[in-house]
Structure formats: C-alpha cells, structure tokens
C-alpha cells in the first residue's frame, strides 16, 4: 500500500505526556536499571538529527516525499527524547543539551568522517543508495517499536507503559514510511538489493550501538531482549527484514544481538 505523505505530515504531532500522572513516579519510582535504559533511549532519540545529516548528504534528500518525511520524523524523534528525559527528570536525573553535546563531541573523528563516507558512497552509487537508507531506517524503526512495546510490558508501570506505547505508535508510522519506500525501491532494482544485503550484513548493529558505549548497548539490549520472549521478538524483527525483496535469509538482528551476548539464556536453537 502506498504511504500517504500528506496524511502523515498533516497528522505529525509531538508526543504528549502532560495528561499523564508523572507524580506516580514519586510513589512508584522506576528501578535504576530501567532508568539506565531510558537514558540510552533518550540519547538515541535526540541523536536522530545526526542520522538525518547522514541521510542528507546522499541523493535521498532530493526527493520531495523523503524530504517531507525527514522533517517530521526528525522532530517527532526529538520529542521522544524530550518525553523520555521528562521521565528521567521525575527521578532526579537531568539530561540537558550540554550533556548531549558531550556525547556528540566524544564521537570525534568517526562522526566527522561518517557524512563524508556516506556522501562518497551515496554519490557514487546514486539512486540505489536511497534503498539502503530506507531498509536501514525500517530495521531501526521496527527495533524501536519492539523495544518500546516490550519495555512497556516488562515494567508494568501504568504511566511509563502509556507513554512508551504512545511513542511506539509514532515509531510504527515511521516503519510504514521506511518499509514502503524500501520495498518499492528494492523491488525495482537488483543492484539496490545487492547493496542493501551487503550493507545490512556487514554494518548493521542494534539501534544506538554506533554512538553509545558497548556496556550501555549491552545493558539495554539485555534488559529488553533477553530470554525466550526477547528472542521471539528478535526473530520477528529478522522476519520483517528478510521478507523484503532480495533480503531473504538475513538474520542481522539475531546475529548482532549474539555479538553483544544477548541470548535466550540457553544456547540458541539452530
């Protein structure tokens, strides 16, 4: 089904939490390990603007629909960051703009080279590179939906759960855009399929793993995706991805989770 960009942009809203009883965090606070995961998620959401940059240096931004989507998406993700940092603030954890700046400064040269690499690749490969971005985005957004919903289930905190589900709902709309774009573009081009397969297989990592410390990635992925239930979620993500044209048989999520030591507890069944 086609993605209606006009409908998406005209209904794009910042996530709201003013109606939720944040006072309940005082009587029923979240455990430290959850706050640590939320901190990670907030950081990653705020970091969207840096991914946006990597997208913009390639031909992707020339397409009116893609450009419109990116404008809204970037803002929605910023607001997810704001919402999560409001939860943190209710627990006395502040996450201000200076701290985000510190995270970005730490990335150093890697961060400076990324757009150059992307730009070189994107401009050499041309239009087919957009397909890579779209499937990459889809994989990330699918992961985000799964992560937020799973965390809502795990925590059993009514206020947090409601907020996370609101965020997940917006992420699901992002999935719809990226997946529709990816499916169309992959279906049209064999070269795009080969490129996407190569990129996902060799370079994809859990959302946030390119910017956060490995110990943090480990904590969050373990928190959300460990155990039998978690493995089921991981495999669902791989199923979504491998159903795309030319990407059958890919198990990038399960493979990368294994790298971080996230398993079902027992050795994974083949």
């Amino acid at each position: 089904m086609a993605f209606d960009i006009d409908k998406y942009t005209s209904t794009s809203k910042k996530v709201v939490w003013g109606d939720l009883d944040f006072g309940s965090f005082e009587t029923n606070p979240l455990p430290q390990s959850t706050l640590r995961s939320l901190r990670y998620m907030a950081d990653v959401e705020y970091h969207t603007v840096c991914y946006l940059r990597d997208l913009l240096v390639t031909p992707s931004h020339k397409e009116a629909d893609v450009s419109a989507f990116m404008t809204m998406w970037n803002r929605e993700e910023f607001w997810h960051g704001e919402a999560l940092s409001a939860v943190l603030a209710a627990h006395g954890v502040t996450l201000d703009f200076d701290q985000l700046k510190a995270t970005r400064l730490k990335l150093g040269w890697k961060d400076r080279l990324d757009p150059i690499k992307q730009s070189l690749l994107g401009n050499i490969v041309g239009k087919d590179f957009i397909a890579v971005h779209m499937i990459w985005g889809a994989a990330n957004e699918w992961s985000a939906v799964a992560a937020y919903n799973r965390m809502a289930d795990l925590e059993q905190h009514p206020v947090l759960a409601e907020l996370l589900r609101r965020i997940a709902k917006q992420e699901a709309r992002h999935v719809a855009f990226y997946a529709t774009q990816a499916r169309d573009r992959l279906a049209k081009s064999k070269k795009a399929q080969v490129l996407a397969r190569f990129a996902l297989k060799n370079a994809w990592g859990p959302v946030g793993s390119s910017i956060m410390e490995p110990a943090e990635v480990n904590h969050v992925m373990g928190h959300i995706f460990a155990g039998e239930e978690g493995l089921r979620e991981i495999r669902k993500l791989d199923e979504h991805i491998s159903r795309m044209p030319g990407l059958d048989g890919l198990t990038i999520v399960e493979t990368s989770m294994k790298k971080y030591g996230i398993t079902a507890g027992a050795p994974l069944a083949a």
Binding site: V49, V57, R75, I116
Partner: protein, 272 residues
C-alpha cells in the same frame, strides 16, 4: 576546544556568557507553528485572485523555503551539529519552514484548476561540493557555527523584507493576513539566530574572518541555487527594483554584525 560553552549551570550574573541566553529553545520547540492550511482562506483567492507576478514570487518563496533540508545538510556536516541546543532549534525551524513552504504551495494551487497535482519533481541541489565542504568545515570547527548563525540571521532579514514588499505590492487582504503570520514566525526565529550570531562574532576573531569570507561567496537568498538564475533575478527585480532604499537598509543592518561591515551583499545579489 570551543572558546566558550553553552553552560547551563552558570550564575545569573554570567548570563550573557553563552549565546542567545534569553531564548528558550524548549519553549520554542513546544510552540512551533505547524500546518497553516486551515487559516489560508484559499477560497477567497477564487473570487479575488493574486496577480501573475505575485504568484511567481510565491512560487519562488516556496522553493527557497523548502530548500531548508539542503541547507541543513551543509550545516549538519559541521561542528554546528554537536551543539544540541542549536540542533533542537534547527529541528523546529525546519519544521516551521516546511509548513510555510506548504502554505505557499497551497496558495499557488488555489489559483490553478482544481485537482492540479502538486510538484513532486526532485529538488535541484548542488551535491557535488558536499564532501569538500564537509572536510573544510570540520577543519575550521567551532567558528563555523558563527557562519551558520549569521547566514540564518541575514537570510531571515532578507525574507522578512521580501514578505513585506510582497504584500505592499499585492494588497490582497487574505495574503496580508497570511504573510503577517509568517513574519511573526520569522521574527521569533531571528531572535535566536541574531543573538547567536552577534555573540559568536563578538567572541572570536577567527569566526569574524571566516564568516566574512563565507558570506561573500553565498548566493542570496539561501536556496537560490534550487531555482534557475532568472527566477532569482525576478525575485530581486520585482520586490526591490523600485525599493533600492530597502536594499541599502538591509546592507546597513549587515554592517552592524561584528566584522561584517562594507560587504554590500544584498546590493550585489540584486544586481546579478
């Protein structure tokens, strides 16, 4: 190392020690203006249409507003993107600009037969220079932020002047109302850009020199490259051809930015 920081923990006496201290970015993000479609009064144009020249200007304004993402690209590949306060601002600014461009498009469409398709043609953007730009800008580092904030300042001044001229030349009540809304949005955006620009230019000699060099090379208005040269020519000719004093006034305002006097940027752009 940056020669100043966006400190949040400083005392009130030191308030001026980070750029645009009075501008609450979070508040701005919270109150950003979204779609204007419900307030455009598009039906009124059916009985009281705009002239062909105004429509040509509106189309041009739409194209330069929607070129935001291209501009953002060259901003984000530099040290500017490290500053989370600035990216929070730019995220919201891009959102507001998207809806201004959308409004201009809707006004154009209201003058065409019903059911006319919107323009979905790929944007014309000069991409071949991104790599070089990005390398150079990263070597320059923090002073590039001054360049970007100054670009934002001057471009907003120019847009404001253009909007005012458009409604002076085309006294259509509905258009006036819409443009007034946009002028107010630009005013708020300007508050941030200008305070950032003045602060950063005042603080650093290097920032002043680099900004001066860069300003000379930029085609005005920002986004002009997304359109054929004759459209930019028409933009200046139609809006400022009989209002040379406004051009001089804009240049005089640019002169007040630390280290940027005597550039005559707008006069030169208008004469091309």
């Amino acid at each position: 190392m940056p020669d100043h920081k966006e400190a949040s923990a400083r005392g009130e006496a030191d308030l001026m020690h980070f750029p645009a201290p009075g501008f609450d970015v979070r508040e701005y993000a919270r109150n950003a203006a979204a779609s204007h479609r419900d307030d455009l009064g598009l039906d009124t144009y059916r009985s009281n249409p705009l002239g062909a020249e105004a429509l040509r200007i509106i189309r041009y304004l739409q194209v330069i507003e929607r070129a935001t993402m291209t501009h953002l690209r060259s901003v984000l590949v530099t040290a500017t993107h490290k500053d989370a306060r600035i990216t929070a601002f730019l995220t919201t600014w891009a959102f507001e600009k998207y809806w201004i461009a959308d409004a201009f498009e809707q006004i154009s469409l209201a003058h065409r037969p019903e059911g006319t398709d919107v323009d979905r043609a790929p944007f014309i953007t000069p991409s071949e220079r991104t790599i070089r730009e990005s390398i150079v800008a990263n070597i320059i580092g923090v002073p590039m932020i001054a360049v970007h904030m100054t670009l934002g300042t001057i471009d907003t001044w120019l847009s404001q002047a253009a909007y005012r001229r458009l409604i002076a030349l085309e006294p259509n009540a509905q258009l006036q109302k819409t443009i007034q809304t946009f002028l107010a949005l630009k005013e708020r955006q300007l508050e941030f850009f200008e305070a950032q620009s003045r602060y950063r230019l005042t603080e650093s000699k290097q920032a002043r020199a680099i900004t001066r060099r860069r300003l000379k090379r930029i085609p005005w208005p920002i986004g002009a490259k997304a359109e054929p040269r004759e459209e930019t020519h028409f933009f200046f000719e139609r809006l400022f051809g009989s209002a040379r004093d406004l051009v001089a006034e804009l240049d005089a305002r640019i002169d007040t930015l630390p280290g940027q006097s005597g550039l005559s940027l707008i006069r030169k752009a208008a004469h091309q």
